[in-house]
């Protein structure tokens, strides 16, 4: 039970206590000659205050739930874009690959910015940061040998481009698939962490 839930629980008890008090006062008031209007007002105030605060905390909980849902849905979009990226596992038009990488990077940036604005803690922010993974993905998916190395070892290149079409050698293609899988697992774990926070 987290702090917010505990507060909600305590306030719910207070409201119940207020309700009980009002009932008792009304019940005893019928028989007790010492029953005053002051007793009734006091009991009603306790009940009112408890209900108001409980309502406020409930609203706060709803806002926090919505914020989590928002972040989880953005992470889901990221996961779908990673699945789409599998289409480039053996290569493809370099411009399209670069565009897909940019979309992923912009989505990741938007997720991090949203987490900042919504006040998520450092642990969550760390879990939803994909800076290193995206940098590595860009390298695996698009790095070709430098001009000098290209001339020397053209037959052994892990990635070659001809007329703007990138072709990945099988080793690099496997590396790409494995890295995409790793990223999808990280997205999944991030979704769980956001939900549990």
């Amino acid at each position: 039970m987290n702090c917010r839930n505990l507060t909600f629980f305590v306030l719910a008890i207070l409201a119940s206590y207020g309700l009980l008090l009002v009932t008792l006062v009304l019940f005893l008031g019928i028989f007790d000659p010492a029953f005053t209007l002051g007793n009734l007002i006091q009991a009603a105030s306790t009940l009112g205050a408890g209900l108001l605060v409980a309502k406020y905390v409930q609203k706060e909980n709803q806002i926090q739930f919505n914020q989590k849902q928002l972040l989880v849905s953005q992470l889901q979009v990221m996961s779908e874009k990673l699945i789409e990226f599998h289409g480039f596992k053996s290569g493809g038009p370099l411009v399209e690959i670069a565009a897909a990488l940019k979309q992923l990077a912009m989505r990741a940036g938007a997720i991090s910015a949203a987490a900042d604005e919504l006040g998520f803690n450092a642990s969550i922010k760390n879990r939803i940061s994909f800076t290193e993974e995206l940098s590595e993905l860009r390298r695996i998916a698009t790095q070709t040998e430098s001009l000098k190395k290209m001339e020397a070892v053209v037959d052994e290149c892990p990635a070659v481009v001809r007329d703007g079409i990138l072709v990945l050698a099988s080793e690099r293609a496997s590396q790409l698939e494995s890295h995409l899988e790793k990223m999808q697992i990280k997205v999944f774990k991030a979704q769980i962490a956001v939900n549990a926070s």
């Binding site: 070709t144 001809r162 007329d163």
Partner: protein, 112 residues
């Protein structure tokens, strides 16, 4: 001085080398970036390179463009850093990646 890659070079940057396809990093470096860097060095001016607004960049385009200034054009990292200012609001992490490519190129050049 300013270069906006999307309008001054290409909206869809391509591969590393000219022989690999159009809008390559090699072409960008030789035709656009290097001449402007030299001009900035000669006039003690700053050169702003705005990377935003393109379809996206592959590693090799960026490495060839910026690392190539050291490896192919013989500039050194200190010279480049004294005049070059990179802008990337769309993908801020590109700035660190480019810095890494230039540092690696400088280390490789220093070993030779």
């Amino acid at each position: 001085m300013k270069i906006k890659v999307a309008t001054d070079f290409a909206a869809a940057p391509g591969p590393r080398a000219i022989v690999e396809g159009k809008n390559s990093g090699e072409l960008f470096r030789t035709e656009v970036l290097f001449p402007k860097i030299v001009q900035a060095l000669n006039t003690n001016d700053k050169l702003e390179v705005d990377l935003d607004g393109t379809a996206g960049y592959g590693t090799s385009f960026l490495e060839e463009s910026f690392g190539g200034l050291i490896r192919e054009n013989g500039l050194n990292l200190t010279q480049i850093r004294s005049v070059l200012k990179l802008i990337s609001r769309d993908e801020p992490d590109l700035l660190d990646e480019i810095s890494e490519y230039m540092t690696e190129a400088q280390e490789e050049a220093s070993r030779k």
